[in-house]
């Protein structure tokens, strides 16, 4: 599903964000990407959705090398990858329904199929009764669930989550994790960057640790730290 080989990213200001990182994520896996701030987690996710281009090395999704994609191919790549963000990135002037439907409209999905699919994912994330509300009328946890619904509506093969529980209280965070576990159970590969030790320790999934751009640990069913 996802392959990185000697992946290196050096920014124009000389900062080495990723240094010779090699890893493989199989289809259907749930992987935590952990490490302190500045370890390179977000850079790694940005390379996967081709928001950044590697300085050297290889990154491939579904056997497609991302380094040489044309503009249009980048758009098509992203249709297979769902992304959720710490700050949700919802459009404030659109309702919950419109925010989710938007992801289908921009890829020119068939008009007939949009409504049932949006309601389907809103039901999955438990927001069917809030479809007509604006994001400002929702709690943080609900906004993150809208973000998740938007990421899932297009049936992505891979879901990237960048600190999805960063702004949420423990109970709400756990609700989001339950949802992600359900999504993963249905076959979607998930790579989640997080600082949340409790969640990582409780979920017992594969943990990849980065530190100053280097891959320092890759443990199946691991904890947030080597000791846990």
């Amino acid at each position: 599903m996802l392959i990185a080989k000697n992946l290196t990213k050096i920014y124009n200001n000389g900062v080495v964000a990723l240094d010779q990182v090699s890893l493989t994520v199989q289809k259907g896996e749930f992987v935590f990407l952990v490490g302190p701030s500045g370890a390179g987690k977000t850079t790694f996710l940005n390379l996967v959705i081709r928001q950044e281009v590697p300085s050297s090395g290889l990154i491939a999704v579904n056997r497609q090398n991302l380094a040489h994609l044309k503009k249009k191919e980048i758009a098509f790549l992203r249709r297979n990858i769902g992304v959720i963000f710490q700050d949700y990135k919802l459009l404030p002037q659109k309702t919950v329904y419109e925010n989710v439907a938007f992801a289908l409209e921009v890829i020119e999905a068939k008009a007939r199929s949009i409504k049932p699919r949006v309601y389907e994912v809103l039901e999955l994330v438990g927001l069917l009764n809030k479809a007509n509300l604006l994001p400002s009328e929702l709690s943080g946890g609900e906004q993150q669930r809208v973000c998740l619904a938007r990421a899932l509506v297009n049936r992505p093969l891979l879901l990237l989550a960048d600190e999805p529980t960063g702004n949420l209280d423990p109970d709400t965070s756990w609700g989001i994790m339950e949802l992600l576990r359900e999504v993963n159970k249905r076959g979607t590969t998930i790579v989640m960057a997080t600082h949340n030790q409790q969640i990582v320790d409780r979920m017992r999934r594969r943990v990849i640790a980065l530190d100053r751009g280097k891959l320092v640990r890759d443990t199946p069913k691991g904890g947030y730290t080597l000791e846990t």
């Binding site: 758009a75 992203r78 249709r79 921009v106």
Partner: protein, 290 residues
């Protein structure tokens, strides 16, 4: 493009304009002012051009025939066929004498009946006539003795026209460029205000074209609305001016009429449409690199 997609773009464009009312109204105001100024210079240039055309009409060339000529009609036809000639009028010996007598107020100028004046043709010219060439060609026609015109006046007129054309074009070009610059910057503000929307569109897999179209349509709608408003103000203001100086029009022949209005409409709406669309297109470029 699928019709459904086009209507989606149009709907998004209209929603975008309504949702971002403050930015829309600001942009509309600035575009209207820019196009109003351009329209003003356009009217000024058109009037200066009209004035020079009127002056050019005053230029007359007299082609005197040799006394032996018996077939002035043939020469008249040849003169009429020369490039730049608008009208040819034959002035016979008798008519020439009568005109001279009238001018001098002396009824019996040629007492003994001997009229020394040659027969002639008066040529009026088209605006774009190349005078030296025309004169040379007229002189080469057999039977033509001499070609006379007010050389100093023509020289002055030619220089004046050249200055007016160059200044007019430069003025229009500069104003057009300034208006385009203003429109691009204004639309850039509206695009900047919605950069998150663009980023999200790109992250969920929208192609550049898909992101761009609603914004380009918004730009076109803004441009056309701005042009419409500028046109309305200019039309009302100009007809008020024409009405006010009606009395002096003999001395200051200001242009007016449906033809001018149509030209102004085409120019302003065309600029609004083109600049609005181009402004959005250029403004978006930076934000599409997501």
């Amino acid at each position: 493009m699928k019709p459904r997609t086009f209507f989606y773009f149009l709907r998004e464009a209209l929603h975008g304009l309504v949702r971002n009312r403050v930015m829309t109204l600001t942009a509309l105001g600035i575009i209207t002012i820019g196009l109003f100024l351009f329209g003003l210079f356009f009217l000024l240039t058109a009037n200066l051009h009209h004035l020079t055309a009127l002056a050019w009409e005053e230029v007359e060339i007299r082609v005197f025939l040799e006394p032996t000529v018996t077939n002035p009609e043939k020469i008249g036809a040849e003169l009429a066929a020369l490039p730049g000639v608008k009208k040819v009028k034959y002035v016979s010996k008798a008519e020439g004498a009568a005109a001279l007598e009238k001018m001098l107020g002396n009824r019996n100028l040629f007492l003994d009946g001997e009229n020394p004046l040659p027969a002639a043709f008066n040529l009026s010219l088209q605006e774009a006539a190349d005078l030296p060439t025309l004169v040379r060609m007229a002189e080469a026609i057999p039977g033509v003795e001499e070609v006379v015109y007010k050389q100093d006046f023509v020289k002055f007129l030619e220089i004046a026209i050249r200055i007016i054309i160059i200044c007019g074009l430069a003025l229009l070009f500069l104003t057009g460029f300034a208006v385009l610059y203003i429109i691009i910057n204004t639309i850039q503000l509206t695009v900047y205000a919605r950069r998150q929307e663009i980023e999200i569109m790109k992250l969920v897999g929208a192609t550049d074209a898909f992101v761009r179209w609603p914004f380009v349509l918004e730009g076109i709608i803004l441009g056309l609305l701005g042009a419409g408003l500028a046109l309305l103000i200019l039309r009302e203001g100009y007809s008020f001016l024409v009405h006010r100086i009606q009395f002096y029009r003999r001395f200051f022949p200001i242009l007016s009429g449906p033809e001018l209005e149509f030209k102004l409409m085409v120019v302003l709406l065309g600029m609004g449409l083109f600049f609005g669309g181009l402004g959005s297109h250029v403004s978006l470029k930076r934000h599409l690199k997501v």
